[in-house]
Amino acid sequence: MNDILMILTACSVAIPASLLGVLLVSKSLVMVGDAISHAVLPGIVVAYLLSGTRDSVPMLFGAAVTGFLTTFLIDFLRKKWRIQEDAAIGFTFTFLFAIGVLMIAIFAGKNSDLDQECVLYGDLETSILDQVIIGEYLYGTRAILQLLPLTITLLIVIVVGFKGWKVWAFNPQFGSFIGIPIQAFHLVLMLLLSIHAVLSFESVGVILVVGLLVLPAATALQFSRTLARTFLYSVSVGIVSCIAGVFLGKWINISISPLIVCVNGLIFLVSVLISPFKKSALSN
């Protein structure tokens, strides 16, 4: 039972991550994804300090605010102060993340259930103990129940806006020219990314979540000719890595979330070697 719960919890983080990841990787926004997932930390801490709980509503609000703040700050540094993009991203997220870490150290007292370990690495094994039981029935872990609405929202957003996402990722200039609100697509992605970062940090931490965002999508792109298939492959890789990670972790008795990311990394390496598209590039 615990294994299934563990797999489901891991998948509830990995599935939306692998969907978001396709949009990030196909538009070369991996660094921005990395940035957002770290930069939401001060938002989480402020929300926690103000509300006194790890309740999701204030946390989501905090995440949305810091997510937008990050996006605007990067944009501002790049366009107005003419700082090169990678430096602007590097500055923004490390600075915000460091502020978050300091705030935890200073304000969140000893008895607080928000500590640096938890934020940085997460803990899948303990997060499944946080179960939602109503009456006699187990409805799932808190992580699953929080991430499920996000996953459903994300699916609707992707399916309904599919043509728009395709233009946004592939040829935004064409999109703006014919009158598609390209900037709005960008902001929606950043918002969903921020929310995902907040809801998943307890399970996998803000560092490993980047692996779940990037690796399944990068693997999928080695095989896929269309965006639709890339989404499908990416989610499949995400799920397979969660199942493999949980069983491997049980077998060798070791922490599960880093294992899931390791499995993802290995799958990615193999996929590059056997990819039908990259073969010629590698042999040259």
Partner: protein, 241 residues
């Protein structure tokens, strides 16, 4: 002759550098017009400035007497090949189908009529057999034709192409030129940015010579005859193949 585009005092800066200096000219409808100039002469800048893709310092542009906003849906823009990510997971057919997206209803499904137009268009540019290929698996000339096909699928009145003949084979060049001529013959206006006055330019009706500002503007024969071109340009290269 009706004027397709009228430009008055168009001036563009990139940061502090003047890229386009007070250009005023008009482009006839129903013709193929080439915008020609050496690298860094502001020809792509002129194109992007006209189409509102980059901000302009000052100047006014009208399309058949209307503003860009009113005329936007009748313009198709074919981007420079190097601006495209050719590794992107998208097929030839999907790119062409983008031409059928309705701006105010971009989320709506592709209709059967749209699919038919996409199919016809692919046939016109001789890419039917490649419709399911990922775009990176095509030759340079085929890639250029994919974007021309997208422009055709838009069924635009004004087709604007940015350096369509760079790095493509002769067969594709001829195929593109013949499509462009057919478009002109059916009354459409075509504007092509190109880097010299060699072979391809012979197919243009009118030519605009540009080097940060307007050097000359008129029918191709007159421009080629003009003795001032070389002096004004200081670039014999433009006339060579």
């Amino acid at each position: 002759m009706k004027k397709a585009i009228e430009i008055t005092d168009l001036t563009v800066f990139y940061r502090d550098t003047l890229a386009l200096d007070s250009v005023s000219l008009s482009i006839d409808s129903g013709k193929i017009t080439g915008i020609i100039g050496p690298n860094g002469s502001g020809k792509s800048t002129l194109l992007k400035g006209i189409l509102g893709i980059i901000p302009v310092k000052r100047g006014e542009v009208t399309f058949f007497g209307s503003s860009l906003e009113k005329y936007r849906s009748k313009i198709a823009y074919v981007p420079q090949r190097e601006s495209i990510d050719w590794d992107f997971p998208i097929t030839v057919e999907e790119v062409v189908a983008m031409g059928r997206i309705r701006p105010k209803k971009w989320w709506s499904r592709t209709t059967l009529a749209d699919k038919e137009i996409v199919k016809e268009t692919l046939k016109k540019v001789q890419l039917s057999e490649f419709s399911n290929r990922q775009i990176g698996q095509l030759s340079g000339g085929q890639q250029q034709r994919v974007f021309l096909a997208r422009a055709l699928a838009q069924e635009a009145e004004l087709i604007v192409m940015d350096e369509p003949f760079v790095g493509i084979d002769m067969a594709s060049q001829e195929s593109i030129l013949s499509i462009v001529q057919k478009l002109r013959d059916s009354g459409k206006t075509v504007v092509i940015v190109h880097h010299d006055l060699s072979v391809v330019a012979q197919y243009f009706d009118d030519v605009i010579l540009l080097n940060k500002k307007l050097i000359a503007n008129g029918p191709i024969d007159e421009i080629l005859k003009s003795e001032n071109i070389e002096k004004a340009y200081g670039m014999t290269l433009l006339l060579r193949k």
